[in-house]
Symmetry: T
Subunit: 153 residues, 12 copies
């Protein structure tokens, strides 16, 4: 597969895309995990809110994986790759109180946002097209981040 | 959370549901992985077909996880749990020829179907409600299985 | 109206269907009653959740009543029959705090589920078609039951 | 809950709303009962027509119950209240010939319309907002009434 | 094509599926035939009702045929196979009075239901997945059967 | 407005379009009149069927009027023109029994069809585009005609 | 057909409904006539706007005719009745300049509004249900009236 | 622009419509302000509920402004007019706790309802058409009012 | 049932319609048969393409059957009539390779097209309305024909 | 690719289809060009109207190109073929006043209609199926032609 | 609320977002004001066009306000803040001729665009995520600006 | 038409937009040409895939043309301009094998992408708004490019 980018640029961009893919797949799994295990007076409200994060994370993981393919780099979103490579702190097993659910999501989103902003910076020069994708993902993640912060404020 | 089932029955059913959850989440990740990495003259056709497997697997994983919760058992669909517990043979990394993509899916679906039929048997007595869910999942997986087999026939 | 079932089988199945009809109509009325009278910080969330129970209960009451007709047994879902025959504990009159609303629903759903599981058992032999309907109703009721339990956990 | 109405006005309006609620819930149960039990050459046609009455009655019962709540009066739509308080003559049990089904509905609608028109008059002064709701319900009930009359003309 | 079933089981299930396919294709042709040839005061009502049977029969014939394929057995729904193998009594040619149209459908549905219930029994052990499909088809056919019976009651 | 047709051709075609416009507007008014005034056991069925004629007649009247405009001939669909120029026998005033409603429609449609077929012939040479419109209108009117005939057969 | 109104009241209300029916049917025919014959720089804009009047007039004519039936009075919307009884000044034949089209509609709407407001007054006492219908028709006609006035301001 | 109302009546009605316009635009701005600034455990639930108030207020402000235009009175919904003329107490700046958000809305809705009921009274004689609009707005505002009251009950 | 056509014309047209009905029903059954039995690398693509032929053939068979009824001729689309009267070569039983599936469809469509074009000619004089239906069916069949030819080119 | 037509007939029809394809593609490009460059008080109205011509022209160009393929003749719609072969007078470059935009469209549509009517004549004998397509295209183009003429009348 | 940005960057971005919020809310109010008060031959066309600006402005004001919240800065969109802080020249009161309406919108959009482009520049360094939002808003405003300019060209 | 850009900047941006317009219109024509002329075993799959390129190219050509207008530069998308100015190698005439169709698209997309990336660079400074449009077009073209490459890999 022929790439639109020179080799050095491609290396930087590929790394950013692969990192984002792992983060986003894990985010979708973590949010689903809490969606199923949350308990407490805000159960229904947070249960629904988590599914919006899942939908975002799934859609964006597809976008970054297909972006990697479009640049000629095979993406890797397999379970083992995600389990070992994700930057999100493992979600605890079992039922989780709504307040803890919210703060777990605030932390997870916060840590993904930090890495996503680094990807925005890293790709500005080598590939403004990929950068634009990271910018839009960041905008959406920061919106989810605010909403979970507001819940526990 | 109070369960509708007696303890012994619950143990059997919980095990079946948790096993199905891990299988189905991994199936969705494997099918997505191939969806992104497939190449060859049937690229578009199989690329689309794989997304139908992803949609099935995601919907059914939600059903079995919420069924576990409904019986009072916290489901576990976290990346590490899936990576270590799945019965599906790991998908190879990198680009994959369409013919290999199809046979990989035939194998993956075949192995999940065997375990799903065991769950149909195991839950018949303790919980016909969960059994009915496994029956419907099996029907759909066997349909996908046929369609991939027919591709390589 | 000619029935597909032998007389003895029909008697068992008819009783199960009529019992389910009364339970489901009363469940829809009870959930609406609380939908209108609930107050407290979870008002909006539970108010909406209750309407999903109403929609389920109405749809399933139609299914079991038409199933009775299809077997040649006239169903009875009149107000007086429901008021006198329902197994659900009467909902208290007047405004109801959200926490009480939730526990009232946990109890109501719990008691209907017990009877519905008995109907699953009772109809397995005489009519697997009716049994399948009870299985699907039970699945959905147990899901609602979990969601209300999770709210008060 | 604070009301927009003075106490005397509220008393009149509350009574009208509670009466309408009981009438409309019972109308929905009666129409469903006949929907399930009707037989004869017009079976399909009337079976479908009855479900339109059910839909009307359910929608309007929600409107009047929520109107009561909006005025600070807890509505009561429980099975026992409906069974004992409804002004509709009890529907006979068992299969019902289509001609009888039609005349039963003509009677039921006719008696609800009389009471609804009294509510239009009673609420004109104390609360034109509630009156407007009764006016719109009356318009729709009189349309259903005509259609069933036309069937048996 | 590899089957999920052992040979003996497969033979029983394949026979049931093939029989159901022929019955359902013929049912769709018979209902269309009457849909086009019915006359009498209930023309429009029954004309529309018959198209609902056609839609059911077509959808279910697709389900059972694809189920056969999924089990590794090639289904046969060709005109000659249907003409020679169907258990439904041939529909008379030419215009048909509405009353006769209804009783023809009552008979046709009745005879298919008897065979479908035998298939439910026959497949319970060898393949609960196929059985579940027969159960759902039976439920729907028995609903159509009731509705045509009610028309001529 | 410049016409695509020579003057002699235009005269023939214009006459056919204007005649069709008057017939179709009157047909829509006649069908609505009966829609509102019909009584009898087939009330609901015919009431709905008539509205399908109204929808057809309205859509086709728009087509022929705009076709006249497109050929540079101002169409005339005013009440007085319709009242004096229509070839449909006046509908009787007041309530109308369903059987009479049906035969009135059979006659009205029959007389419009005769004239519409003459328009098909008359426009074949001068304007196959207008002819195609008359052909499609005739097809639809003959379908409605059959359906009302079948009702009274 | 039994009426909800006393005889004297019914006479007043019936007259108002029949008058409104004639006005609204003629308004729909007049607006369609101009829709087809308008020319000038605002052709497209007014052509579309006129179809919104047609849609309003058709919907409301159905409402008032069915309201008459609901009160036991057979409505009369036949071509000859409309042609002789309408209060709208006849639309001129042939092409019509956009400016004239607009002023013709301003006049037509203006004259119908005057009569509709008289109907609002006349029915206030005898039937607030019919009055409510006239009020809503008036609101919509006055909105159309403003929009055509604004066009020629 | 010609008005359907006499001058004295018009003055009263115009004042009511202009006052309602200012109230409703400000209500939409206030509800949006809180929608953006709310924090606390009910964040998501109230955040969504507020957008339903915004949608109501925007739709109704359009209705009353266009009603003014339809009566020949130019409406004024500019920022400065709203800022100086609204009867709603200014919303505080900055983040707002959910409990305070709810009580702010209860107050804002309460004060608009009082003025809207005065407009219902004031317009009854001069213009029942405008009155009907105020009645429907009041009904919806009182429903929102109840729902926020129920939240803090 | 009265026909719009003279007897001699009717005979020609009736024969054409009945022939088309048999061809189209058999085409729908043949395409479904292959839809279920196709295997090979183009499985998914042709499997979907065949269902578009089925949809065409079903829709057109309904059109020609109802056209026959509209002309007063009872259509015959029963299984035995189709099996004995169809001009399509019998489809082979069992699994069918994709290349063979395509050429079977090229042949089947080709032979139906030849007969359909003869019907276009035969009906031109006696009934241009039926001719127009055959023209549109031919257009669609020739499009399907091209697409299958292009597959095997 | 095998054709349904004899060689001589095919030559005539192929020429007509290829000519229509070039005309329609150029019409879509010309209408888009004016859609982007129009200025003047009718900007918005004509801007939108032009996009309806674009949509028509695109849909019909697809129909005639696929009709050519269906007859075994490869269609040619490439930019150079269109630029050199179109019968439409080149649109001027740069901004275009609305009045000129309208008259440019009147001329363009007028010249395409003349050629399309010649194609209707030319194909009547050799292929009534293609003729039917040209008839329907002509009907739609003449409607657009009228609407632009009416704008400048 | 924790921000993703450093304090200095946040100050710049917050100012840009707050300024954009005020501009966009005022733009929505100004466009609505003209939507209600416009008169003249382009009334309908501009009336509709203005509502598209309102929809844009409302959607974008929501985006920038929620972006501020997402960065931890409470947005301020209250009436008084808008009235005193907007950079748009006040719209004149009362009826407005269509030509003036257009030029008022050209000016309003022009002045907002200038400030929005400054915000694009100002946020490039501190926050490319917010910059992307301003870029997309600018693109849409410049499109509206062109369309109003074209109207008066 | 007043531009938001200074003259020098405008010159650069206008050139980029005009170049993109020509590329995208030609891409849409080339993709349609192959859509109609492709033959071979992948006919259906590539035929459909090409229409997605057409849809993309049409939508983006509209965006860049309207962006030029929004900046005050009249766009030129006429057939002759496209034929002479496009950078895409002319598509060969006549039937085209699927493999060649795919490689023709890989080349065409590849050459447009190179130029589009140059436009991303060229417009970064003078107009980030236009640049953002080019970035999004590039992203989508590179996705199509990958998919065709994957087909022939």
């Amino acid at each position: 597969m022929k790439s639109s980018l020179a080799d050095a640029d491609l290396k930087t961009v590929a790394e950013a895309l692969q990192g984002a893919l792992v983060d986003l797949v894990d985010l979708s799994l973590a949010a689903k995990q809490i969606h199923w295990n949350i308990v407490g007076p805000r159960f229904r409200s947070i249960h629904l809110q988590l599914d919006e994060v899942v939908a975002s994370a799934r859609a964006h993981s597809d976008t970054v994986a297909e972006r990697a393919s479009a640049l000629g780099v095979p993406p890797d979103g397999r379970a083992a790759t995600v389990a070992s490579g994700s930057g999100i702190k493992p979600t605890p097993a079992g039922w989780i109180k709504d307040t803890d659910a919210v703060s777990t999501m605030v932390d997870a989103l916060g840590s993904v946002i930090v890495r996503m902003r680094e990807r925005v910076d890293a790709t500005a020069e080598p590939d403004p097209v990929s950068q634009d994708i990271f910018i839009q993902i960041t905008a959406e993640l920061e919106k989810h981040h605010w909403m979970f912060q507001a819940e526990n404020a």
